[in-house]
């Protein structure tokens, strides 16, 4: 029996391996080219920056403007400061990108609950991509007993010797990027807002850490840095963007950004690429041929906690 299982698991692992290798190859090509370019730009910026600005930077960051009030010039300075700080602290060269929403694009996510097997591969991939410490995750996978849709009956702490477990289905929850987002509504200082492509972002340098958005979010999508995030310099993803996966400071809020550092460049989110079952679908809802458009047309989709009228852009379905 146990022999049988290890055998199954080994074939399984080879499947995972195959899958990750495939998507990995494609990914690496892209990322390498991108980060090389960014790296070159960063190096250039660092060379131009005058010496001795390090002593002035606390003043500089104290009076840093809100992201949406920054001029391209301001941004350049701010991004250079972030690069300097990371270089000093972790001894890494990072690129700070600032991809804008693409016009005519609105992002939607769809997740097939019949396929999700609760392997949490998305969770891990997300942590790596978005520079999350081990004790924080944007995705909460709930092990749900069959026969209920009440998320309060879910268990997020299930151990996964072998998933899916009999009699359960798995419900991954992350930021729903609501149309009618309570988190952005309650923020007293507009430190979080909804972008044109539907992504809800946080300006980590503007947030005062009052945690009102956290209280307002019905999906536990927001995560607070109660302490300085503990990161391993060797595993930091150096391809970073200002509004998403750059390294956060203590005392600020953060959340899933649909990997905007990737998706606004055309890639899929990291969670989707890591999913071993193809349960995760992402795309532009204005493109009638996109996977998500097709799913919304073909499947009976639903959203979580529809009764609160948050109008999520994250859809679930069974098939």
């Amino acid at each position: 029996m146990s022999e049988n299982r290890t055998k199954e698991q080994s074939t399984n692992r080879s499947l995972e391996h195959r899958l990750s290798e495939k998507s990995g190859q494609l990914l690496n090509q892209k990322v390498k080219r991108r980060s090389f370019l960014k790296g070159a730009v960063a190096a250039g910026a660092a060379a131009v920056a005058p010496m001795g600005t390090a002593s002035a930077f606390s003043f500089e960051s104290f009076f840093q403007k809100h992201y949406r009030e920054m001029t391209p010039e301001d941004k350049k300075k701010v991004f250079a400061r972030i690069q300097r700080e990371l270089k000093k602290e972790y001894e890494i060269e990072v690129s700070i990108s600032d991809p804008a929403p693409i016009s005519g694009v609105k992002f939607v996510y769809a997740l097939n609950l019949s396929k999700c097997n609760g392997s949490r591969k998305c969770v891990t991939a997300c942590q790596q991509e978005n520079n999350l410490p081990a004790d924080m995750a944007y995705i909460t996978v709930l092990e749900m007993p069959r026969g209920t849709m009440n998320v309060e009956k879910g268990n997020r702490y299930y151990k996964g010797e072998s998933v899916p477990k009999e009699g359960n289905y798995y419900l991954p929850v992350q930021c729903n990027h609501c149309e009618n987002s309570p988190c952005t509504k309650v923020c007293p200082i507009e430190a979080t807002w909804k972008e044109k492509d539907g992504i809800v972002v946080v300006d980590y340098d503007w947030c005062i850490g009052c945690r009102y958005c956290m209280a307002a979010c019905p999906y536990e999508a927001r995560h607070f840095n109660f302490k300085k995030p503990k990161l391993d310099a060797s595993t930091i993803n150096t391809s970073q963007s200002y509004l998403s996966n750059r390294v956060r400071s203590k005392g600020v809020m953060e959340k899933c950004t649909f990997c905007l550092q990737r998706t606004r460049e055309g890639s899929y989110p990291a969670c989707l690429e890591a999913c071993p079952t193809g349960a995760r679908k992402f795309g532009n809802i204005y493109d009638p041929e996109s996977e998500v458009s097709q799913i919304l047309k073909q499947k009976s989709v639903f959203v979580l906690k529809e009764e609160i009228n948050t109008v999520p852009q994250f859809f679930y379905y069974f098939d």
Partner: protein
């Protein structure tokens, strides 16, 4: 004789013209045949016999379990009997491994149409430019297609007192 490569590219062209092409980019099917380049089946098998087989198969295919369904118990249901480097449809047409999905959708039509819409299965690459659509057998073991159980990544730490 038309070379194998020619044939493949011809088939790819044919497939692409049939598949719906997205406004924002095209869908490319994941290639399977490359994996066979170094060890083509024809190295050992000239032909395949069409008798029922018992698993596990002794010799080089010990790992191979034929658990697709009860009545699929011979290699030649899907593999070409005359050219072991090719697959075969039920009507006898031989096709390349790059089109293995055509074998699958003979029975799994509904899944096939979901797959063609990008709903079933996995697509990687770019959501707006070229999408790479994985074939059925990229995720499912064609001989034993049911998804196996996984070892899940570690659960979140239950918050306790920080100290």
């Amino acid at each position: 004789m038309i070379s194998g490569k020619w044939l493949i590219s011809l088939q790819c062209w044919f497939l692409l013209s049939v598949l719906p092409v997205a406004l924002y980019g095209k869908v490319v099917l994941q290639k399977r045949e490359m994996g066979l380049e170094n060890f083509p089946c024809s190295e050992c098998h000239d032909t395949l016999s069409d008798g029922a087989i018992e698993t596990p198969i002794e010799g080089n295919h010990e790992e191979l379990a034929l658990k697709h369904m009860k009545r699929i118990n011979q290699c030649t249901v899907c593999h070409s009997d005359s050219n072991s480097d090719q697959l075969k449809l039920l009507n006898g047409t031989t096709i390349s491994f790059d089109q293995s999905h055509l074998v699958c959708i003979q029975c799994h039509g509904e899944k096939g149409s979901d797959w063609r819409r990008g709903i079933h299965g996995k697509q990687v690459g770019s959501w707006k430019d070229d999408k790479i659509r994985l074939l059925c057998s990229d995720c499912h073991n064609a001989h034993d297609p049911k998804f196996k159980q996984f070892v899940a990544d570690p659960p979140p730490v239950r918050p306790g007192k920080h100290h």
